[in-house]
């Protein structure tokens, strides 16, 4: 300051003593400068407000208008008579919108406290969606309580990133009823998102993850709508513009008969195993139950860790649909296939095998559980005589057996409209060469003759094979949804995605058809039959038991559950052109006739229902089973005409 010259006194004059004025030129330059500055600013305004207006208008709209999805309720599921199986209920979910905040991580403690989710879990969820675009809402918690909803409403300003959404949630039958058949829904997995077939899914979508829910997801899911709401920068709703209504998913009628299903579920309770009942005329599945089961309701909201661990650690695999996913040695039920092969090859008709509790082949003794005396094809089935079938297998050779087994659908998927069916195994020389790079030894064929060794089949395969044979050779594609409920292109896609033998024909002469079915009728109908205990008075109930050794072999009177044989039974009513075929697998059920008793209850329920339907008119009486032992010369009765079936649609 001090160096500044101080002035006082003469104000009109400059320090040099003369009056000063600013030169006019410099003031003009100043005016031009001001004009230039304003002109530049106007240019900037022009660029934004005139040239860029359309673009910025869109950005402004995107700012304030948020598209909120209106979720389509999934289609409901009904049984074949229109009784409700699976419904929806309204529920509210909470999402995180990362766009709303700079860093949601700062709010995790508060969110965790208000929504009762551990901080680590929220962090894990956020990590999972790290690569997803920022505008995409991240599902945080489903089915929130009114308290949690109030928390979100009360913290709109502090936690603008929290958003709620009304949803429809699945309501499944309790206690895991038909859980494997129905399946469950869940969030779409990354694996599915990477699959071109599921291109129309976006992360966070709820999709069918198993059973009918998965196969028919495209039909059940409907089309989500959306609502345009006006929000401020805190995400608070100020109003709304328009909306696109959601198109609800299509309701589906399953082929399941609730009455039969209930019996199947009931008889399996407390056991490990599976029951499948099918209408052989059409391939419609009438009942499908698997044990142990799980609660799909637990899957419809986010699964709790405890429940998931409980399922994972259960050695009996509750998530497995054993009707289509348990591939086990079929045991003596395989003798139906053996009989088919033996008769069609004209070998079995003339075979008379003395059974002395077993026989020796290739230096090994193969045992039979009893001394059956002289056995032929007619009593070999009711006796379930192993010696007879060892001999037959030895005469036919593995490749002939494999050919007939393949014609009946063994070793291949059936093509049922449920996901993740397994194919089972039907060994042959080619199979062994391919899978083990080894030659087939003739000695291995002997065990195959009684459904042991490398043979593995699923309950659905056995039910279908029997359906084909009992129907004179016609194999249907099993299905749980009526095909006419499904658009034809979609049906075709489903068939392509779930390949299997589908519709096929088993080579079977009328005469052989009668021999096999009559013999099976004696399994339950004749006192010598292995499942006479399961016979049903007044019902033409036929079948075949199977007692299959588990891996590790049979240990007599063992208390170790794992070594107890699996009990199989496949049966039908009536014996020819049956209206129902049932396959029962009871793991560690000990004897095949234990399973036969379960099957009998299912068949009985079916027949009772049919009779009630037909105004108490008894269904056509099947021919009386021939009393054994039958002389070989006996002519077989001609096939009975198909009885009227009032239940068939």
């Amino acid at each position: 300051m001090e160096e500044l010259p101080l002035h006082s006194g003469l104000r009109a004059l400059g320090p040099n003593g003369k009056a000063e004025k600013l030169p006019a030129g410099k003031l003009h330059i100043s005016q031009y400068m001001v004009a230039l500055v304003l002109a530049v600013l106007i240019t900037g305004l022009w660029r934004l407000e005139v040239l860029g207006a359309d673009n910025y208008r869109l950005l402004a709209e995107a700012n304030r208008i948020r598209k909120v999805p209106v979720l389509a309720p999934r289609g409901r599921l009904f049984d074949r008579e229109g009784r409700l199986l699976v419904d929806n209920y309204p529920s509210i979910s909470c999402y995180i919108l990362r766009e709303q905040v700079k860093d949601a991580n700062n709010d995790l403690a508060l969110i965790s406290q208000g929504l009762h989710i551990p901080v680590e879990q929220i962090q894990a969820t956020l990590r999972r969606y790290q690569s997803a675009p920022k505008y995409q809402p991240i599902p945080l918690k489903q089915d929130i309580t009114p308290d949690e909803q109030a928390f979100i409403e009360a913290h709109r300003n502090e936690l603008p990133e929290l958003e709620t959404l009304d949803e429809q949630r699945r309501l499944y039958p309790r206690n895991g009823f038909a859980a494997h058949l129905i399946g469950y829904v869940g969030e779409v997995s990354e694996q599915m998102l990477n699959d071109s077939r599921y291109a129309f899914y976006s992360p966070g979508d709820v999709v069918g993850r198993s059973g009918v829910e998965q196969t028919y997801d495209a039909l059940l899911r409907g089309t989500d709508g959306s609502r345009d709401i006006i929000v401020n920068s805190h995400g608070k709703e100020l109003g709304h513009l328009g909306q696109t209504l959601a198109i609800p998913g299509q309701d589906l009628k399953l082929t399941i008969d609730l009455d039969i299903q209930m019996i199947a579920e009931k008889v399996l309770d407390g056991k490990i195993g599976a029951i499948v009942a099918m209408d052989p005329h059409t391939g419609e599945i009438l009942a499908m139950a698997s044990r142990p089961t799980f609660d799909p309701n637990q899957f419809s909201v986010r699964l709790t860790k405890n429940y998931w661990n409980e399922i994972l650690n259960n050695p009996d695999h509750p998530l497995l649909n054993k009707t289509i996913q348990a591939q086990l040695a079929p045991g003596s039920t395989f003798k139906i296939i053996m009989s088919l092969a033996g008769l069609q090859e004209n070998v079995a008709q003339t075979m008379h095998v003395p059974c002395n509790g077993g026989a020796t082949f290739y230096g090994h003794f193969f045992s039979c559980d009893r001394h059956h005396g002289m056995v032929n094809i007619d009593n070999a089935i009711p006796y379930s005589c192993d010696t007879f079938y060892y001999t037959l297998a030895n005469r036919l050779g593995i490749d002939t057996i494999a050919r007939y087994a393949a014609s009946a659908g063994l070793g291949q998927k059936t093509g049922i409209d449920l996901p993740d069916e397994v194919a089972g195994t039907m060994p042959s020389t080619a199979w062994k060469l391919k899978s083990q790079h080894e030659k087939w030894y003739a000695g291995e064929t002997i065990s195959v003759g009684i459904g042991q060794g490398a043979v593995a089949a699923t309950p659905i395969q056995l039910a279908r094979a029997l359906s084909g044979i009992a129907s004179g050779g016609v194999l249907r594609r099993p299905h749980v949804v009526f095909p006419d409920e499904v658009p034809s292109e979609m049906l075709q896609t489903i068939h392509e995605n779930l390949p299997g033998t589908g519709e096929a024909t088993i080579p079977l002469t009328t005469e052989n058809w009668q021999i096999i079915t009559d013999a099976m009728a004696n399994v339950t109908g004749s006192p010598i039959g292995t499942a006479y205990i399961a016979h049903l008075d007044g019902v033409d109930f036929a079948g075949k038991t199977g007692t299959a050794d588990v891996v590790g072999g049979r240990v007599k009177n063992s208390t170790n559950k794992a070594t107890i044989p699996n009990a199989w039974f496949v049966g039908m009513a009536p014996r020819r052109n049956p209206d129902i075929v049932v396959a029962v697998l009871w793991e560690h059920g000990y004897w095949g006739n234990n399973s036969a008793k379960l099957a009998a209850q299912v068949v009985n329920a079916f027949v009772e229902k049919q009779r009630k339907r037909a105004n108490n008119i008894r269904i056509a009486e099947a021919p009386k089973p021939t009393v054994l032992p039958t002389p070989l010369e006996t002519t077989h009765p001609s096939p009975t005409p198909k009885p009227p079936n009032p239940a068939a649609e």
């Binding site: 300051m1 009056a19 600013l22 004009a35 106007i42 305004l45 910025y56």
Partner: protein, 366 residues
């Protein structure tokens, strides 16, 4: 002292333009705050305007030559008050800018120093009138302005400190700097500026981030680029005619940051469009031209220099604020004179206008 002035010589036309702009400002503040917790700011702004008007009439009564006489003392007090801010100032949002007085009055010295500097610079170049500027003359002018400027920059208050700069430029230009000297100074400033940017000294990280995001707002649309981005959207979406009063979606939806102060022009652009914005700039043009005319008719050199100093500050603030709103300038936190809400800004503007009236009323003295 004889009364040499009369209110017949008061610049009523200038005052008319100013009041029209103030009215528009009040309406826009109302629109921008009506649905927020800041509603009522328009009423407060009217209060500030009233106080400003009273101060303006009051200061027009005091002969501006007396202001020129006492300015060395005022300058000394200013420097002391800046030191006081460092010693006992209140820290708000990380910046020490205010001195708290008993009774809840917050005094921000940096705003008033603008006026002191305008008069001081006018006085300095008046003293040098009639001869070529030497390098020491230029050096002293720099020292005069840059000492308070650096002190304010350290508070830190980049925006206000920058507004001191045009006072210096204007003084040098009107004081007769030669073209060669100006070129050399520009070169030195460019090199020094580059050095400051490189080393990162003097600039706070947030100031640097503002500059970076100005160059590319999309780099961090939720961070420091957010304000620029939302401002551009507000202005751009206004289109030619605007969305209408109280109907700006960016303004009403709270997307536009502080729409009643620094970004009030963006709010106005959104609601009144290109046409309205050009109207405002036209009003500014008329005000500034009127001011320059008063500088021309002033009776002596210090009067002219003071008015031109005021013109330079107002022009600079318009350029930086509107430039920021339309994306031509980085975010610096400089209010728009007569439009932005805020007591300090309004009072400065009206005090400055009071001095202009003062000078005009005494133009026929000689």
């Amino acid at each position: 002292m004889p009364r040499l002035s009369s209110y017949r010589d008061f610049d009523w036309v200038l005052l008319g333009f100013v009041l029209l702009l103030s009215l528009i400002s009040v309406l826009e503040i109302k629109s921008a705050t009506v649905h927020t917790k800041f509603h009522g700011f328009d009423q407060k702004q009217i209060g500030f305007l009233a106080v400003g008007l009273v101060l303006m009439f009051f200061i027009s009564l005091i002969d501006y030559h007396r202001l020129v006489d006492i300015v060395p003392w005022a300058y000394g007090v200013s420097i002391l008050s800046l030191i006081a801010v460092f010693a006992v100032g209140t820290k708000v949002l990380g910046a020490r800018r205010w001195i708290k007085f008993p009774g809840g009055i917050h005094f921000q010295p940096s705003e008033w120093i603008k006026l002191v500097l305008i008069v001081a610079v006018a006085r300095y170049f008046w003293g040098l009138a009639g001869r070529q500027l030497t390098w020491p003359d230029i050096g002293k002018a720099f020292a005069l302005v840059c000492i308070p400027m650096l002190m304010v920059l350290k508070q830190p208050d980049l925006g206000t400190s920058l507004t001191y700069f045009p006072i210096l430029i204007c003084g040098l230009f009107l004081g007769g700097i030669r073209f060669k000297q100006a070129t050399i100074i520009l070169l030195v400033v460019a090199i020094l500026g580059g050095g400051v940017w490189k080393t990162g000294k003097l600039l706070k990280p947030y100031q640097k981030a503002r500059l970076t995001s100005f160059m590319d707002p999309d780099l961090d649309p939720r961070g420091s680029g957010y304000q620029i981005r939302q401002s551009l959207i507000a202005v751009g979406s206004g289109g030619i005619w605007g969305k209408g009063a109280n109907k700006g979606t960016q303004t009403q939806g709270d997307f536009l940051p502080i729409p009643y102060t620094d970004f009030i022009f963006a709010a106005f652009c959104e609601e009144h469009g290109f046409v309205g914005a050009v109207g405002i700039l036209l009003l500014y043009f008329l005000i500034l031209m009127r001011l320059i005319q008063n500088a021309q008719t002033a009776s002596d050199l210090p009067g002219s220099l003071i008015i031109m100093g005021i013109v330079s500050v107002i022009t600079f603030q318009i350029a930086v604020n509107v430039g920021m709103v339309v994306g031509l300038m980085p975010v610096t936190g400089i209010p728009l004179p007569l439009m932005s809400y805020g007591g300090s800004s309004i009072l400065f503007t009206f005090l400055a206008l009071g001095i202009v009236m003062n000078i005009r009323m005494r133009r026929f003295v000689n």
